[in-house]
Symmetry: D3
Subunit: 118 residues, 6 copies
């Protein structure tokens, strides 16, 4: 059965394809630059995905949290490390972040459940 995370993934793919069709050079370059920002560099990609997760959490964007959590789990971050990063986001951003913490924890649980099925 499709869960909320699958819905996000298919909507994201569909709309990113549509945005590609628009063929606006600035938007295309921004998307490339966004992808490159999380590649290995002076900091490794794994660390930068965690930075992206915390930035997304304090800015309170559930879709961005989901995207970076998918990448973070892929990169090998463990649950307790993710929750420790989310605690930093919580203390910086305050209780207004709590609904996004709930969302993030649900997404981590969904990702782990998917991992067990494989």
């Amino acid at each position: 059965m499709a869960n909320k995370l699958d819905e996000f993934r298919s909507y994201r793919t569909k709309m990113n394809d549509r945005i590609g069709q628009i063929d606006h050079l600035g938007i295309k370059r921004f998307f490339n630059l966004d992808g490159s920002a999380y590649k290995d560099g002076p900091l490794d990609g794994k660390t930068k995905e965690l930075l992206g997760l915390v930035a997304s959490t304090v800015l309170r964007c559930n879709d961005c949290i989901d995207y970076h959590l998918i990448q973070c789990v892929d990169a090998g971050w463990k649950d307790e490390e993710l929750f420790d990063a989310l605690n930093v986001a919580l203390i910086v951003g305050g209780s207004i972040v709590v609904p996004h913490l709930r969302h993030a924890v649900e997404t981590v649980d969904t990702l782990r459940a998917e991992g067990k099925k494989k």
Copy 2:
């Protein structure tokens, strides 16, 4: 000669002392919790200071950027690593972050100049 960073440091110390005098239990506990969030845990303190820096940058708070840069330099992060983290903040937060990137780079330079004097 006192630089902008020294002004921040002395104002921060003076006002944190004054806030301590207020003796509000909630505020005191929040300050303690804030300090604890960056101690070694599932993630080491060094990594969490970098998370704090990126969170402060996307939320566009110069004082918070300065505080976390002081901690990051203390923790041993190198310039190119700090700039790579700030690049993540820039791509997540957009051009509205640029004035804070300028401020952050100036603070890194001040901190390195202080380090050479010691």
Copy 3:
């Protein structure tokens, strides 16, 4: 029939329980501190719930608005008082707050309808 507010309430309870299981000391303490902030103190709890409502509205978080509206209605605030507080949030936060004003008014109406059923 379950309404949107009931969905929020059951999701909130489920995920807060799950977050409790994570057993992260910082997160636990933050949740306690958050709860304490609205207890009677120099300001009474009733007034502080209204402060929480306005803070949630200008920061544009529907879940936070719902939570504080539940508490505000419980604490005895009347509709016209709640709307007068929301007007302050509207003038401070601007038209970007309007969708959250719609949400808040819908939640107030749901809460009053629930009150009549009891």
Copy 4:
């Protein structure tokens, strides 16, 4: 079949009517002032709707984006002009704006499909 945009339109109408019933003078005046801000003046209304769209996008409010896109399409802005404006919002607001760019493009497509049916 009702699409997401129709849901927004009917919810918006229903709740704006309900807010009118509340009869709070400040809220009523704010709604009038909000409407007036986009009328022809030193700048024409068409330009101001585009300003409203970009402001809504960088502040990341999907309902506000939908409202201003409806007005922008009505005012005669073409797709490539709307996407060029959204590119400004993307560069100013960063990747945190991307989920709202997806939403905006979907809404533009829905509006154009509605236009063809007429």
Copy 5:
């Protein structure tokens, strides 16, 4: 000697006068509406000034904090009540609010010192 608060007051007066000269009907009406929002209504003005203070603090605007603190002290709020309200802002808004808490406490102290001179 002119303190920071006096500078804010004279700059605010000077620029509000200049904005009045611009004679833009929308801006003028907004300023009137803003003033009216804090007058006695279903909630008394004293309570609404406290709401304005907390809204300004979580949105992290020092000038707005100063303006509402001047009004709050005028309205008769005591220090411990103001600090209890600021604690709500701190828990809602997180550590990113701390620099503005420092500013707010400094302004309260300046206002009390002015009160003693009279």
Copy 6:
């Protein structure tokens, strides 16, 4: 005598040069992309500078407001058109935008005074 705007201009130039020296490919590309976003395209550059001004104002960044006002005046926008755009920002962003409206009007006046000297 150096005014606030001149200070911004020289600080901006100095730090942008310094950021160029850092030679981070991602940051460099972002700066280029940022510059390109305001060039003539489906929308002309003049209109896009006005979009940048309104985006900067609702996001409450004085340096960004100053930068876009310089460009807007250069592009030929008249005072009453700029104030009409700022009125849109004010209604969207609320009274929290007022201190930035004051700053913007001061900058417009400085720019016009500079224009008369030439």
